[in-house]
């Protein structure tokens, strides 16, 4: 399809990451500085600066990858640019000090693929990550983009497409893991009511806190989602599609909207796609900040302009969905997988992964971990490999305590289960779930009772209120957890928590309510001791539950080592610290609001917490 916008005459391509995290780290200023400096050195016709979607290694942003060669520069500042341009791009001497050096090592690693964070990743959904400009359809096409669409529309029947997806073993990446091909078949076979249309929806209402896979895919490679959707539409016989996208993701919205316009311009979307007589178009629906809208029936209600409240299933959306018509809903990442399966074949895809879970999964690896970022790994990889090899372990020499997967619907997995190979079944068996792909790592300073309380307060707050078990039940559980974190809990409370959890799971209307007790159940299962310490000893071992903390100042250390430096008193939020410079300081307990600032600012270790 026509010419590429990146002529081969350029000697080097500088791929500047423009994902949300890097943009927050001012990567556009880096881009401008690069362009200015290249011009100054007369290199503007030899070296091209390209902005790409999320590279994944967010911790180290702003990022720059030099192609060819895959040289990886990180944590760049505008001040570094003149030197970098002169040394590397003019004189050909890569700049070591701007490269990535693993913690506790001295030698930098120049090439991206040699870095542990990238080494074990297998890229399918993120296949174009860092390699294309997401705002240029030509870049996507140059990387085999829309080839699968041509194949599906011109050489395959709908049944053949569905068969291929079924054989591949692809399952829903939104969390529940329903076989995608089977869902498509249901919608294909369903008949629309009153001569209406079938619909197809991309669920991009990524609500789990600590998860940003879908945002990254939509920002970095929106065409991969569009291509997947057109193929799906052909398979199920839909003419209208929707992408439901979170309002909090302005960059993803902008890039998707642009990509849709380009696809229409190229005849890849809209009327008579590729001259095959097939019509399909996609509208964008913006979410309005309600977590429950990630639930499919609530999402459909909200597209129709109604309250985002779920309804009982069956009937499933495959039978009666949007406007009462058969509707196929898949998650962003699922759609992004589809073109690759059509291109490379079901057999190739199904060789990756485990017996029940094929292909790869994208995770956002966050929390108490060295290499925060977005990773795509084959199913069957162990948690240990993700956290300690790709993620580089826990910062500050702290001890790993748990990893939380599945967001508010999931659970906390302890270190005894680190060698668990990841797939849908194994995570469910461990009491958690695959979920959409959030993976929050917790260390010894994380309190598991507090984590359970955090997630429950999240679901309680986001509960739409339609069904009683979710609305009232999660509130009752939250009240108990609040009591425990204040040192007012009893051992009977734990039994009550478990009883409530079981009834909510059995009786809540939708997925939000049914899974809301999971964080409590898994922490009770693996970290019961921590609950008991809160209840019996009125202590929080991680010093997170503030009502249980007592801050004191060791007057001897304060005077002899710190010479009464007075920093704690000046920073104290509630004027609870008394003492003068060169004199020992003291905390008046009645005034202390336990914000912990004194503990953080004391350089001498004089402030103690118990």
């Amino acid at each position: 399809m026509e010419e590429k916008t990146t002529p081969t005459r350029y000697r080097l391509h500088l791929m500047v990451c423009a994902g949300t995290a890097c943009v927050s780290n001012r990567s556009f200023e880096i881009k401008e500085a690069l362009e200015k400096e290249l011009k100054k050195q007369g290199l503007e016709n030899e070296v091209l600066v390209v902005t790409t979607g999320c590279n994944g290694f967010c911790e180290r942003g702003p990022l720059l990858v030099v192609q060819p060669g895959n040289i990886f520069y990180q944590q760049l500042t505008v001040k570094d640019i003149p030197y970098l341009v002169e040394e590397h791009f003019l004189k050909g001497r890569p700049v070591q000090k701007l490269m990535y050096t693993p913690p506790e090592e001295k030698k930098p690693i120049p090439v991206l693929n040699d870095i542990d964070f990238f080494k074990k990743q297998v890229l399918i959904a993120l296949r174009n990550r860092g390699l294309i400009d997401p705002e240029k359809i030509e870049d996507y096409i140059a990387r085999d983009g829309y080839r699968a669409l041509v194949k599906a529309l011109t050489q395959m029947t709908p049944e053949e497409i569905i068969e291929e997806i079924k054989k591949s073993g692809l399952r829903g990446r939104g969390g529940a893991g329903f076989p995608t091909g089977l869902k498509w078949e249901f919608v294909r076979l369903a008949s629309p009511a009153n001569g209406g249309l079938k619909y197809l929806v991309c669920n991009g209402d990524e609500g789990d806190p600590g998860a940003f896979m879908d945002r990254s895919i939509l920002e970095a490679d929106p065409h991969s989602v569009i291509e997947g959707m057109v193929i799906g539409a052909k398979a199920i016989g839909a003419q209208q599609g929707y992408v439901y996208i979170r309002n909090e993701y302005p960059l993803a919205l902008k890039r998707l909207t642009l990509a849709l316009e380009q696809a229409r311009e190229y005849g890849l979307l809209g009327k008579d796609i590729l001259g095959t007589g097939f019509d399909f178009d996609i509208k964008v629906a913006r979410g309005a900040g309600a977590f429950v809208c990630g639930e499919e029936t609530a999402l459909l209600a909200s597209i129709e302009g109604r309250l985002g409240e779920p309804r009982p299933r069956p009937p499933y959306p495959a039978q009666r969905g949007l406007y009462g018509q058969p509707t196929c809903i898949n998650n962003v990442e699922t759609w992004a997988n589809v073109p690759v399966i059509i291109n490379r074949g079901a057999e190739w895809f199904s060789k990756i992964g485990t017996k029940t879970s094929k292909g790869t999964k994208v995770f956002s690896l966050v929390g108490k971990i060295n290499n925060t970022g977005l990773v795509e790994v084959p199913m069957g990889i162990t948690l240990r490999e993700i956290i300690f090899e790709i993620g580089g372990g826990i910062p500050g020499g702290k001890e790993f305590k748990a990893v939380q997967t599945g967001g508010p619907s999931g659970g906390c997995i302890p270190k005894e289960k680190l060698d668990l190979p990841i797939d849908y079944e194994s995570l469910t068996e461990a009491g958690s779930m695959m979920g959409s792909g959030g993976m929050v790592v917790m260390d010894e300073d994380t309190c598991m009772v507090d984590v359970a309380k955090y997630f429950l307060s999240f679901t309680q707050d986001e509960s739409c209120g339609k069904c009683t078990p979710c609305r009232e039940g999660t509130k009752a559980m939250l009240d108990i957890l609040e009591r425990i974190t204040k040192g007012e809990g009893t051992e009977e409370d734990l039994q009550l928590l478990e009883d409530l959890a079981v009834s909510i799971k059995e009786t809540a209307l939708c997925g939000l309510g049914k899974t809301a007790p999971n964080p409590v159940l898994t922490t009770l299962r693996y970290f019961r001791d921590e609950y008991l310490t809160h209840i019996r000893d009125k202590k929080c071992p991680a010093h997170v539950c503030r009502d249980l903390n007592v801050y004191t100042i060791d007057e001897k250390i304060c005077l002899e080592v710190g010479h009464g430096c007075d920093v704690c008193r000046r920073n104290c939020a509630s004027e609870a610290i008394i003492g003068e410079k060169n004199q020992p300081h003291r905390i008046i307990q009645e005034k202390c609001i336990k914000c912990g600032v004194c503990y953080d600012v004391c350089k001498f270790g004089a402030v103690k917490v118990d």
């Binding site: 949300t20 995290a21 943009v23 927050s24 780290n25 967010c58 911790e59 942003g61 990524e206 609500g207 789990d208 806190p209 600590g210 998860a211 940003f212 945002r215 309002n247 909090e248 993701y249 629906a285 913006r286 979410g287 309005a288 900040g289 309600a290 977590f291 909200s302 597209i303 129709e304 302009g305 109604r306 309250l307 985002g308 956002s364 966050v366 929390g367 108490k368 925060t372 970022g373 939380q404 967001g407 959030g438 929050v440 917790m442 994380t446 984590v451 955090y454 997630f455 999240f458 739409c464 920073n571 939020a573 914000c595 912990g596 600032v597 953080d600 600012v601």
Partner: protein, 150 residues
């Protein structure tokens, strides 16, 4: 004021499925949903005002009260939570003298806790308007406020 609303209404088909998008545009244009605009929307789309209000109060993106010139959003996602976001939020409350969800009397700042903004690599994260501040600690809070306060 009326012109702004009718301009927004013209962007969409006058049907119920457009309502959330319309409310979003109004929220963006005014910083909140003024009561009279909701009346106009209800009339234009021919749906009861009560239904417009139920949507306006169901979704988090909408506010019926005006917000500050610099809306502060403290991210309370999981990654931010385990890295101390609650302490940061409380520091903002103390420094601004308002509670979460409130606006300062001079309408300079409003303070809200938000769900994950997806910059987990920079946790804890605070957004002031469109600008993202990463790796925020209690100690950095006064500096951030100062930056926007003239």
């Amino acid at each position: 004021m009326e012109a702004k609303v009718s301009e927004i209404l013209q962007r969409y088909e006058p049907e119920q499925s457009s309502i959330i998008a319309i409310l979003q545009d109004i929220q963006e244009a005014y910083g909140y949903l003024p009561r009279e605009t909701l009346v106009e929307v209800a009339q234009e789309l021919n749906i009861p005002l009560s239904r417009v209000l139920s949507l306006a109060t169901f979704f988090r993106a909408f506010s019926l009260k005006p917000k500050g010139k610099h809306p502060i959003h403290v991210c309370m996602g999981t990654a931010c939570h385990v890295r101390g976001a609650q302490l940061v939020l409380e520091k903002f409350e103390r420094e601004l003298g308002i509670k979460t969800g409130e606006t300062t009397e001079d309408f300079t700042f409003s303070l809200d806790a938000v769900r994950c903004v997806g910059c987990c690599g920079l946790a804890p994260v605070v957004m002031v308007g469109e600008e993202v501040h990463g790796k925020v600690s209690q100690m950095k809070v006064p500096g951030i406020i100062k930056k926007y306060k003239k």
